[in-house]
Amino acid sequence: MPEVPAEVNAEIEAKGLAVTLAGRRVLRDVDISIASGEIVTIVGPNGSGKSSLLKALIGAVPVSDGAVKRRSGIRIGYVPQKLEIDATMPITAARFVGKGGETALARCGVAECAGRQLSELSGGQVQRVLLARALTAEPTLLLLDEPTQGLDQPGAADFYELIEDVRTETGAAVLMVSHDLHVVMSASDRVICLNGHVCCEGAPSVVSSAPEYRALFGFGTRGALALYQHRHDHSHHEAAE
């Protein structure tokens, strides 16, 4: 597991980030930094602001306080949670991916989908097609919003393996939001535990034994998100910076 110094070579960095949506403060005091080539996963209960954080980083939701700093020359590839595409839009996977589509689809293991309509593909195929599109931009930072939602566990594990391969080949940094705690722990260099603010962060093994993490997700396989009763309000920094 590579030790990554966070401030050196940061692809993207947020300082004191706050986001208010419809009068509700969903994020406050968020400091994060993603270094080149590292895989960082954000975990947190429903409504903890995970997706909002990704959206703030790409500028899709306004930032009410703090700032986002991008390395100059950064190229962002974004994989959304799902496509809102209406079945009335005719578009093949190859056309959707765009220039270099066939190659990118083959790289993501869905070459056979090239000529098929996007609306006919399975959930797992759609996720790989979305990743293929993100890769055609030759991103230096890949952002993925719950990319394995709706996939079964082997499917999710395959997908994370693909992400890791992509990182190794391209050197791109990866920041993703995930629900799959077990897979996250093996596939990430660093985990950020989010609940409106950064509760704790660090190497997976460190985070999984942190009291803040335990308070959020419980012990062992129990991990019941619904039972969340988090009262800690301090940060837990010893692992990260």
């Binding site: 419809a22 959206k55 790409i58 500028g59 899709a60 962002i76 590839g77 974004y78 959304p80 496509l83 809102e84 595409i85 209406d86 009335t88 839009m89 005719p90 578009i91 093949t92 056309r95 959707f96 309509q117 599109r133 931009a137 952002l143 919003d145």
Partner: protein, 265 residues
């Protein structure tokens, strides 16, 4: 050639089809049918406001349609569901517009023409407006095409690729207001949305790319204009509704063709 009212009607209808074909695809893809209704119905209110102030009716229609489109877009996400909000706006435009028309002084206006169009009474000046406006809409859509498609597929993906989906939404809003001003004389305020949705829906089973669907929708709209006019002429039926009925026939036809193709595979 332009001396013949039938030729003028045909040209006017084709001009409208050229604009509603590609724009209608976006209306279908983005589920904006009700939004189109609200914008089109606002035109009646626009006419009612323009009359007493002796503003040109086209300006009144354009301003009202635009104000409605912007207003509805701004109000959405404030407690009421978009569907409810658009329903209120669409019927408010219709009802308040008709009341205001009845109360407007000085001028007797053919309300039926406003609601269902009077394509057989299109003048050369109307033709210029229709083709000018139609070219503007088609040009706007072609210019923004890639960005519009990206924003329609996924707003977040658009943001990440440097496309502002809100700006693209505004492009479509402007195009919708323009299309109302262009099409009101041809099919009337009540049937503008029909000319947006039905040719696009009829084109769907025939197309495998967004561009093919836009072209097919334009061709089907143009065919419906021709067939509707021929029918109206032969049977002495109202022209606007006949055009829309012809488009519906095309929809039924491609729907069954699409079903046959799928079964054959």
């Amino acid at each position: 050639m332009l001396d013949d009212f039938y030729i003028r009607a045909l040209l006017a209808g084709l001009g409208v089809a050229a604009a509603t074909g590609p724009l209608g695809c976006f209306v279908v893809w983005r589920r904006m049918a009700y939004f189109g209704d609200a914008t089109a119905h606002a035109a009646i209110l626009g006419v009612a406001i323009a009359l007493p102030f002796s503003i040109s009716l086209e300006i009144g229609v354009l301003a009202a349609a635009f104000a409605m489109a912007i207003g509805v877009a701004g109000l959405s996400g404030r407690g009421l569901s978009a569907d409810t909000l658009l329903g209120v706006a669409a019927h408010a435009g219709l009802a308040v517009g008709l009341v205001a028309l009845a109360l407007a002084p000085n001028r007797v206006l053919d309300v039926e023409a406003l609601l269902f169009g009077e394509i057989l009474a299109v003048s050369v000046a109307d033709l210029a407006l229709i083709w000018g406006g139609g070219a503007l809409i088609a040009g706007l859509l072609i210019w923004r095409w890639r960005r519009l498609i990206t924003a329609t597929i996924s707003a977040e993906m658009a943001w990440a690729e440097g496309v502002d989906p809100k700006r693209e939404q505004m492009v479509l809003t402007i195009a919708l207001a323009l299309v109302v001003a262009v099409a009101i004389k041809v099919v009337g305020a009540l049937l503008i949305t029909a000319m947006l949705i039905i040719p696009a829906a009829a084109a769907r089973p025939l197309a495998r790319t967004p561009e093919a669907m836009a072209v097919a929708a334009t061709a089907i709209g143009a065919g419906a204009v021709w067939a509707g006019l021929e029918f109206a002429w032969a049977a002495d039926a109202p022209a606007g509704p006949s055009i829309v009925a012809a488009a519906v026939a095309a929809f039924a036809l491609t729907l069954s063709i699409g079903g046959l193709i799928r079964r054959a595979r």
